[in-house]
């Protein structure tokens, strides 16, 4: 799958603008600040351009010493713009920004030269709030304890400040060269970042404290950046649709498309957006933890030694695995699990319900405390010294997850009377999207049977979208417009949904005609590998 790297090419509307101010004269005795604002306002085409006091105080000297040739950092703020920084046009010192993907588990920072649109460094850290709990729910409960919210806020701020110091050192710049930070996270992470009590997000009727936080001073948040540096937190659409997804939408460029496309972010929740430049609908639904590698005994997040690809010879039924970094296998990630399930199915080792077929699995299948287990990698070949196995319960869980995913996709397209199989573009966000083999996901009926080149892996689209906010003046306005335009569908689990879900709990689906490529593949298999499948 290809990724939209061209997004980071220098933009036509950079945040750093170089202006030659007309020098003051008796005929033009506008004040210093108004003079700068006037010239910048003409470039960014706004009536409303605010300037911060800390910068105003420096202007008289700055303008006169630079012969009125300056570069200034502007950022869209509500209906207008704000000047965050200014320096002599010729000054070599870089004007920098930070893009932050504020994940529940992992936080990633990217340091960008705002004038050159160049990435200077990247770094990641485990979200320090993990010490409180791995999921948002635990953290929300902790926030409700006395000092709990302050504790969580402090953890993330200290973590970010350490990461900022590190990334700046890596790039050889001073942290006071960072004047802007764009942060994309889910609604709860954004709340904890801003020091907002998230408790009402999980209580009916599910109310965030704020959806559109707007530009906030870094110093108010306790972040060690330049004096007067500002933070742009991506807005949320609602409790279950955060700024990370808006960042994803803008990174995928969904809002630029004529033909509707779909964007999927898979985690414990599957978050789905369908739309184009005209309209957008979104929904989120529990996909179950199977796809995150959070349930199976051998399941884990993608990392060295984790199985990301599986091939089973249809004749010998020998299982071959590929691991990240070619290390001895230690576990399997969500995309590896999908590959495994698809291969097991094509090899006839599981049936259309996802149940092991003992006659096909042979010696690899054992029963442990009443639960069937298939040895994927024997102890002798594994990196852990133990067998890596997958149980029937793991498979059942995966089937539920993939059925939920497909049902959500089917429901959202049905809502706008579209045919899921007619989509021209399908974006898959996140690590999951980078590792998943769309062929396998189609085979198990998790994703629709589209031509493989319809699928596009976005990588870290949250970080990508946050980066775009540092490179294009138009982004915050676009994000707000998208946000205000998205129709969020509450996925009520009604009878329709349940019927669809039941039909999707088969591999690939009760209605095989929806998956012609799978049907064709099965027809190429030995007869013994296609139990219960009528061609």
């Amino acid at each position: 799958m290809e990724s939209p790297a061209q997004k980071f090419q220098p933009r036509t509307d950079p945040l750093v603008i170089e202006v030659d101010l007309p020098e003051p004269s008796l005929a033009d005795n506008t004040a210093d600040a108004d003079r700068l604002v006037r010239s910048l306002a003409a470039v960014v085409e706004t009536d409303e351009l605010a300037i911060d006091l800390h910068l105003v105080r420096r202007l008289p000297d700055l303008l006169r010493k630079s012969d009125y040739r300056v570069k200034a950092l502007v950022f869209a703020d509500g209906n207008g713009f704000r000047v965050l920084h200014a320096a002599p046009a010729g000054q070599e010192k870089k004007i920098c920004g930070l893009a932050v993907d504020l994940g529940t588990t992992r936080v990633v920072l990217r340091l960008v030269d705002l004038a050159g649109a160049e990435t200077l460094a990247e770094t990641g850290l485990d979200n320090p709030q993990l010490e409180v709990g791995p999921d948002v729910l635990t953290r929300i409960h902790h926030a409700a304890e006395p000092e709990g919210l302050a504790h969580l806020n402090c953890l993330i701020m200290e973590g970010l400040n350490r990461a900022i110091a590190g990334i700046c050192a890596d790039a050889g710049i001073a942290s006071d060269q960072v004047h802007l930070m764009a942060v994309a996270g889910n609604t709860v992470m954004t709340h904890l970042f801003l020091g907002l009590d998230p408790r009402w997000i999980i209580r009916e009727p599910y109310i965030p404290v704020i959806n559109r936080p707007g530009l906030t001073r870094a110093s108010d948040l306790g972040l060690n950046l330049a004096p007067g540096a500002m933070v742009y937190p991506f807005p949320n659409v609602g409790s279950y649709f955060g700024g990370d997804l808006l960042a994803g939408i803008i990174y995928a460029g969904l809002d630029d498309l004529d033909e509707p496309a779909i964007l999927v972010d898979v985690g414990t929740n599957a978050e789905v957006v369908l739309g184009n430049s005209e309209w957008m609908v979104a929904c989120a639904g529990a996909a179950g933890p199977a796809l995150e590698g959070g349930v199976t005994r051998m399941g884990m997040m993608a990392g060295p030694g984790v199985i990301d690809k599986v091939r089973i010879d249809p004749q010998s039924r020998r299982i071959e695995v590929r691991t990240i970094g070619n290390r001895p296998p230690v576990g399997i990630c969500g995309s590896g699990l999908i590959d495994l399930a698809a291969q097991l199915f094509v090899a006839g080792m599981i049936d259309i319900r996802g149940k092991f077929r003992p006659e096909a699995c042979g010696r690899l299948l054992t029963v442990e405390q009443g639960l069937a287990r298939l040895t994927v990698v024997p102890a002798a070949e594994s990196g852990t010294g133990r067998d890596l196995t997958i149980s029937q319960a793991d498979l059942d869980s995966l089937i539920r997850s993939k059925a939920a995913m497909y049902t959500i996709l089917e429901t959202i397209t049905a809502t706008v009377a579209m045919d899921l199989n007619r989509l021209e573009r399908f974006y898959v966000a996140g690590t999951f999207g980078s590792f998943i083999d769309p062929r396998s996901a189609i085979t198990i009926g998790m994703l629709p049977d589209l031509p493989l080149d319809s699928y596009h892996a976005l990588g870290n689209s949250s970080l990508g979208g946050a980066t775009l906010a540092l490179l294009s003046r138009a982004v915050p306005g676009t994000v707000t417009r998208i946000r205000d335009r998205i129709t969020y569908l509450e996925l009520n689990v009604n009878q329709d949904f349940m019927n669809r879900f039941s039909a999707a709990k088969f591999i690939p689906h009760t209605d095989l005609s929806r998956f012609p490529s799978v049907k064709a593949a099965l027809e190429g298999q030995p007869e013994r590998n296609r139990p219960g499948i009528t061609s």
Copy 2:
């Protein structure tokens, strides 16, 4: 002269707005902050309503504990509004604001209950920067010294903080109940208040650092108000036309008038605005210090024992004075001096050039080191134990000042092809305006010969305008519109100006036909009192 006290009656657009928010439901799960903003935006009719983080953090509790009935303080900020504070609708604790007249000499604070539009307390202090120098020029030079600007800024902030503590104690409120401060001062005072280097204001081409500072955090300025409290500094039109005058214009209501009116603020500079709801022109010119009581030996600012009214019996030529507080006379203020000159003229004791007529002054006139002096109050009756006298030099200075004043008025009306004598309203700002007798000012030809009821004393219009900014949501927008619309005339002292000035250096004027009421009064005088005046 009447003063526009009705301005302070409760307004239809108060800054404190009470709203009943719709309670959250599954059908309306807007975030807390957005819910508040949405309801307030409907009231103030804006698309752009920002809310500060410190307030957002308090909202979840506040909304739920107040049953979604809140009162909020909003203030116009650029093209939109900002929510500065919110509290339960029923809470008795007052939400307060401070209006500040930031004078070069005197600073006046007025504490206002923003919901009730009620003045809670007033206090004044000498501008603590007086210890550096009495005038703006000395202070600008001091600001250019190392740490000079910080010193001046510190002086005024410390003075304001002391005054804030005092005025709050007087009114029995806590300083953290003050959420907004509106400050009107001249351009240099506003610069020093904001910590901005004023040095370029007095150097050609006379450039302020900023003309439209916008809403600024009180804590950024070092003011001890409520957390998150904001300061609204009135904008300047330019180096010589400050926010104090814009406050005066709005206080006089010049922008509401159909017929053009004039507003005059008299100090060392005479600042004049002419206009109506359609257009406005302004200029400022040196009027000389005579009108401030800053030159004559007996001159002083208005205060107890200061002569503010003079009557001379045209027959006996006996001088009778009235003092402020009816104390024994100790000096004379600018308005008293005008009264004195008018009475001297009508009594024939000075001629049309303002020169003493020895034959009419008699024993009261003495010559001291070659300078003629008239005893206004003999030592026996004075509060100082010494004769209170006025010299020929004092009178000459007054004549120059009054001529400058009249010439400025004539010039500004001529610029828009108006007849000075056809003005329907003439506003006089400041202490000067409160004490001056328009009859006397007309008699000496300082003000045009309008019907007396055309003259309106504004009192402290700078404080009045600042107060209005606390009482009406429309004010900041109106101020900006006025500011952007004012045509500022540079009073180039050209031949035209000099010709007018020369003609105005006579009492009342070389062209007596411009002053029919003075002519009539003179005609009622004994012949001996009208030397050189042809009726």
